[in-house]
Symmetry: C2
Subunit: 362 residues, 2 copies
C-alpha cells in the first residue's frame, strides 16, 4: 500500500479518506497562506469562519436540511450527548421512548435514568443477544421523543429505514452511519454523531437539531451543556476543536466533490457490504452474527469455527496489512468495519484473504 499504509477496518477512530489526509499534511505548516498551521489559527479568524461555515453548508446539502435545522459541533463525543439530550429535551413530567438495540442504546438509557428522567423501552432485541432490529414497535404517541441507535457498531445491526414514530420527533445516535446514506430528515428532531467513524477524527460530535426542540431546555442547565449556547454562537461560544472541525470539513468536501453525494455513497456502501455478506452466506466456515434483514452495512460481524481460529485470523490478517478485524472486547469474534473511507478494493482484499484463510484452515 502507498506509504506503507494498511487497509484499516477499525471500528472507530477509523480510516479517513487518503486525499483528506494528504491535504492536511500538505498544508500542515502553513494553512491557506495564513503562515500558521491549522492547529495554530485563531477560531475568531476568517480562516476558521470559512472552515466551519463550509462544514455546515456541506452538511445541509448532503443531508437535505432545511431552515428548521441547526448544525452544531460539540465536544465530548456521543457519550456526552447521552446526558445532553435528556437534559435539554426531556422535562421532569415527560417521558421518552428508547429502543434498546445493544451496548450504546443501553448506555443512553442508563444515562437518562441516572439523571432521574423517565425512560420507557417499547422494544428491545436483548432476547436474542441484540442480533436484530425490532419491528412493529409500539411507540407512545405522548413521548417527548423516541431514541434509536441507527447503527450498532458492536452487534453489527442497522435500522434499514427510520421507524414510524407517528409524528413524535426521532432522536438518533448516528455515530456509526451518519453520511453513509441519505436520510428522511422529516422524521428527525435531533441527530448526533461522534465524528470518528464516518466523518472525521475523534474529538468532535456533530449535532443536528430542529429549532422547535430548543425551547424545552430549563434555565438551570450549565452553559456548555445547553444546545442554545451552540446555536447562538455558531458552535464558537468557547474555543471549538479547530483541527477536528477542519478535518470534518475536508471529509464532507470529499463526500460531495469526489464521491458525488450520499446517494452515490450509499450505492458504494451497499456493494461493499453485499460483497462481504455474500462470502459469509456462501461459506460454511464464516458465520454472520446479525439477522439478514438487520445487517449493518458499516460493521460486518462474524464468527469462525473456534476462538483459536478467530485469534489466528485476526493475527494473520494484521500481518498481511488488514488491520482492526478483532470484534469488540465485550462480544468477541471478528468484525470488519467498512465505513465510507474504506473502498471496494480494500473489501476485496479482505475477502480474498478470507477465502485463502478458509482454504488453509477450513
Amino acid at each position: 500500500m502507498k506509504e506503507g499504509r494498511i487497509v484499516n477496518f477499525n471500528p472507530g477512530p477509523a480510516a479517513l479518506p487518503l486525499p483528506v489526509l494528504e491535504e492536511i499534511r500538505e498544508s500542515f505548516l502553513n494553512y491557506a497562506g495564513s503562515g500558521m498551521s491549522v492547529t495554530e489559527i485563531s477560531h475568531r479568524s476568517s480562516w476558521f469562519d470559512d472552515i466551519i461555515d463550509d462544514a455546515v453548508q456541506r452538511t445541509r446539502r448532503l443531508l437535505g436540511l432545511d431552515d428548521r435545522f441547526h448544525v452544531l459541533f460539540v465536544q465530548g463525543g456521543a457519550s456526552m450527548q447521552f446526558c445532553m439530550v435528556p437534559m435539554n429535551l426531556l422535562g421532569s413530567s415527560d417521558a421518552a421512548d428508547y429502543v434498546n438495540t445493544g451496548t450504546w442504546s443501553n448506555k443512553a438509557i442508563q444515562e437518562a435514568r441516572a439523571m432521574g428522567k423517565t425512560v420507557r423501552v417499547p422494544a428491545s432485541s436483548e432476547d436474542r443477544n441484540f442480533s436484530y432490529i425490532p419491528k412493529d414497535i409500539p411507540f407512545s404517541t405522548d413521548a417527548a421523543y423516541c431514541h434509536i441507535t441507527s447503527n450498532n457498531t458492536i452487534k453489527g445491526t442497522q435500522w434499514a429505514t427510520e421507524p414510524d414514530t407517528g409524528g413524535v420527533p426521532l432522536v438518533a445516535d448516528m455515530s456509526s452511519d451518519i453520511m453513509s446514506r441519505p436520510i428522511d430528515i422529516d422524521r428527525y428532531g435531533l441527530i448526533y454523531a461522534g465524528a470518528q467513524k464516518n466523518i472525521g477524527p475523534a474529538g468532535v460530535c456533530m449535532v443536528i437539531l430542529r429549532q422547535d426542540l430548543l425551547d424545552r431546555a430549563q434555565d438551570t442547565i450549565p452553559t456548555m451543556l445547553r444546545y442554545d449556547t451552540y446555536v447562538k454562537k455558531n458552535s464558537m461560544y468557547n474555543t471549538p476543536p479547530v483541527f477536528a472541525v477542519y478535518t470534518v470539513q475536508l471529509v464532507l468536501k470529499w463526500l460531495e466533490e469526489t464521491v458525488g453525494g450520499l446517494t452515490e455513497m450509499e450505492a458504494i456502501n451497499r456493494r461493499k457490504a453485499e460483497h462481504l455478506y455474500a462470502l459469509l452466506d456462501e461459506s460454511g466456515f464464516y458465520t454472520g452474527t446479525a439477522d439478514p434483514d438487520s445487517r449493518s452495512r458499516m460493521n460486518v460481524t462474524f464468527r469462525l469455527p473456534s476462538e483459536d481460529l478467530e485469534k489466528r485470523f485476526v493475527q494473520e490478517a494484521h500481518e498481511q496489512g488488514l488491520g482492526g478485524l478483532k470484534g469488540h472486547r465485550s462480544v468477541g469474534g471478528c468484525r470488519a468495519s467498512i465505513y465510507n473511507a474504506t473502498d471496494m478494493k480494500g473489501v476485496e482484499t479482505l475477502t480474498a484473504f478470507m477465502q485463502e484463510f478458509e482454504r488453509q484452515n477450513g
Copy 2:
C-alpha cells in the same frame, strides 16, 4: 520565515513549537509504523496507550506531581470546567471562594452561581478595570476550595506566586500559563487548562486533580461530567480526542527534551517578557495596561496614543509577518501573546518593528 510562516502572537489557539508540527507532518500518513494516520488509530491500541501514558508521565515530571495527583484529559475546554469544578467539588451546604481578576474569573463565578452554588468573592480587581492582581486576600478558612485564574489572557495580568489559602485547596484555571514555569504543587487541589495556549491544539483540557477531592462528587452527576469517570478509565471512558492528546504529548516532550524543563522555560519566558516590557517602560508612545507587579509574562497588553494608530499598528505588523497583535474585542488596544512556543527571536522581531513604528508615527 521558514515555509512562509509568520511570528504568531495569537492569544489562543496559539503558536506551537515548529519541531512538533514538523514531527506531526512527517508521520501523518503512517504513525509509528502502524500503517495509519494518528487520526485513524484506535484509542484501544498500544500506540495510543503509549501516547497518553507518555503525556501523563511527562506532566508528572514537569510539574513535580506525586502520587496524590491524577492527570486527566477532558473535552470541552476550560469553559466545561467552569461547571465541572463546582458540580464535583462543591456540595449544596458548602461555599467556595473565587477571586475575580477579569473576564474568565467572572465566567467561572457566574457559571457556579447559575448552578445554585454558593460562591463568595473575597477579592476583585474590578475597581481598576482588572489591571492588577489583588493582595492580602481574606480567604475563608471554611471554603470548599479557593478558585483563581492564574493568568488573565485578556487583561494581561498574572499571579506572581500562588496565594496563601491557609490550607484550603487552591483550584486554578491555568489555561494560559500552564507549563510556563514551575509551580508549588502542595498548594493545589485541582488545576485545569485548555491546551490551546501553552501545551497543544484546541480540543482538549488538561485536569490535574488531587485524589482526596474525588470523594466529594454526588452520585447524580452525569457520567461524562464526573472526574472519577476519567480517573477510573485513564481518560478513556469513551473515545478521547486522540490527535489533541498526541500533540500535547509532543509539546511536553519538546518541553522536557529540547527546552530542558520548566525552570529553563521560565527563564526564557522571563527574558522574553522583560525585553518587551522594557520597551513599553522606556517608550512615551506605547503604554502597558497592567500594574508592573501584576504583569503577565504570557500576554503583554498595551495601548498606543490613539485607536487609529492601534489599528494601523496591527495592520502593518500583520503585513510584516507579525500576526495576532490585536487586543481582545472586549477591551481593544494591542496584545502580544508570548507563550512557550514563541521564541526570543520572535519577540525581538516584534520590538524592532515597534521601535520602527514609533519612529514613523511617534
